[in-house]
Amino acid sequence: MTSSSGEALDAFYEALLDDDAEQLYDRAPCGYLSTTPDGSIIKVNQTFLTLTGYARAELVGRRSFVDLLTGGGRIYHETHYAPMLRMQGTAREIALDLVRADGSRLPALVNAVLERDDSDAPRVIRIAVFDATDRREYERELLRAKDRAEASEAHARSLAETLQQTLIPPTPPAIPGLDIAAAYRPAGDGTEVGGDFYDVFQLREDNWVVVIGDVRGKGVQAAAVTALARHTLRAAAIGHPTPSGALTRLNEVLLLEEIDRFCTVAFLQLSRAGESWTGTLCLGGHPQPLLRRPGGTVTAVGAPGMLLGVVADPPLPDLAVPLEPGAVLVLFTDGVTEARADGELYGEGRLRAAVTADHQTADAVTQAVLDDVMRYQSGWPRDDIALVTVRVPT
């Protein structure tokens, strides 16, 4: 015990004596140079010579620090490093490549300080040079990974946009005797595919279907269900005479596919009778559309039904909605009523007020509601917004 602690103490003193200032300098674990303010090398340590392969006599009084850099490094030195050093007094962790005596490159990290004399005039620059070969390789790998990540993000974004465009038809078809308009705004900056959808299609002459729906969730999986729902409804509408029949079929498909997502749908079948139309509406868990009658009164229509994809044989009542000339029916998703500002919901009250205003076209109604909701949440929707307006011309 005593003897081993005595040995340790001896070793301590021996190392202390051996490590004088000159050795501290020459054998420092980094290259070390001193230069005049314009860069002429005036002193250099052994570690730097070992790293670069130069003899001391080749450098001191003969070369500038900048001479030891690659062409590109010289530009960087003169445009960034030297100005920074001159104005700031220090430069830290600058990545530069030095050219060794044999022409090979030494990737280095450089720290430097500019010493000033009593009159504040630059006197000497001290530079520490660290071999950064491995680190640089690691950084290159990082850069490559960053490039790959950016490319992949751009790819995903374009896929999402393409997918979104297939789910939302740009403009609904023109229907003789009916004025129809629709709008869609994705949540946030629109980079993620939403679950809201709408569709307008013809069954036979003077017989049309308007669908609006909302698949729970976002992203590619929600989009796949959205596509499934939309196409299932198109197919089911042909074989099933009532909206509830079509929604029941969709419910079966969702359960059969064992898809862990539910959705809400408003299915409106429209039949023309002269100047008027009769709607048959079925709501699979979807918010009740608002009907503005020619006099200006606004009421929620349709009987609430069960959302789809949860239980077998959900209650799905059909309800007739007469649409006389001048009537306006606004179908929407919960992105409208559940828009928030300072924690407060936009709500059905505000939507009713927006629908009550007298507009001459379906497009004007849609635009007015959309503008109002967007303004309410300062132009940044938290959730997707889908709107379809059906208006019977007077």
Binding site: R74, I75, A82, P83, Q88, E93
Partner: protein, 271 residues
Amino acid sequence: MDVLARNNVTLAGPPTAQPMVFAHGFGCDQNMWRFVAPRFSSSHRVVLFDHVGAGQSDLSAWDPERYSSLTGYAQDVVEICQALDLHDVVFVGHSVAAMIGVLAAAQAPDLFARLVLVSPSPRYIDDDGYVGGFSHRDVEEMLDSLDSNYLGWSTAMAPAIMGNDERPELGEELTASFCRTDPDIARQFARVTFLSDNRRDLATVTTPTLVLQCSNDVIAPTSVGEYVAATMPNATLRLLDATGHCPNLSAPQATTAAIREFIGADISAGA
């Protein structure tokens, strides 16, 4: 578009005095003139600005198309002069901004009374019989240098670059954001700068011009300064007792004296 906000224009000196517009080069911002410009603010209207993408300029004004050549930057200089209703302008440009000044004077010759080109180069890359000092490989390496050096701090710096409306005191600024720019923009500016070739534009500008040349300038060698002075119809070369590429930092007194002598001298047209 508010041109003055876009380019972070700062003004000093008597409003009615002859204007001097100082333009910074690649790699920094208007701070490059901090040891020189104040020396003119008692006698001249001193106009400083940051190129779009540099310093405290409005990054949202960055347009890859407009800034795909130095002409876009020159257009900015002309727009700044017009927005301030400047006439009889002394333009002082360092490094690539020297060529930006030449292009601005070619676009709007009537605006400018004098050009001072500090360490100019109309082409950095060697060409048949012309020595610019660099090869294409050097420029590619320099872009790599930019990448490696941005890697460490680009993300950390982004908030300071993006959301800094008020100009902090210089001391704070130096520790936090000295001469730092958006990496993508800096990369493009570097490309435009070091791949540009404006040798043909030199002869078209007859504005009285001073070329300030340092010794041992690795970016713009003395032979290039001589080429600029010899090619411009109305230019004189002045060798500064300074080394390196940035006499505005390393020898501000000599730089100031040379500029003062030039703009104080009576140069009649055609001299």
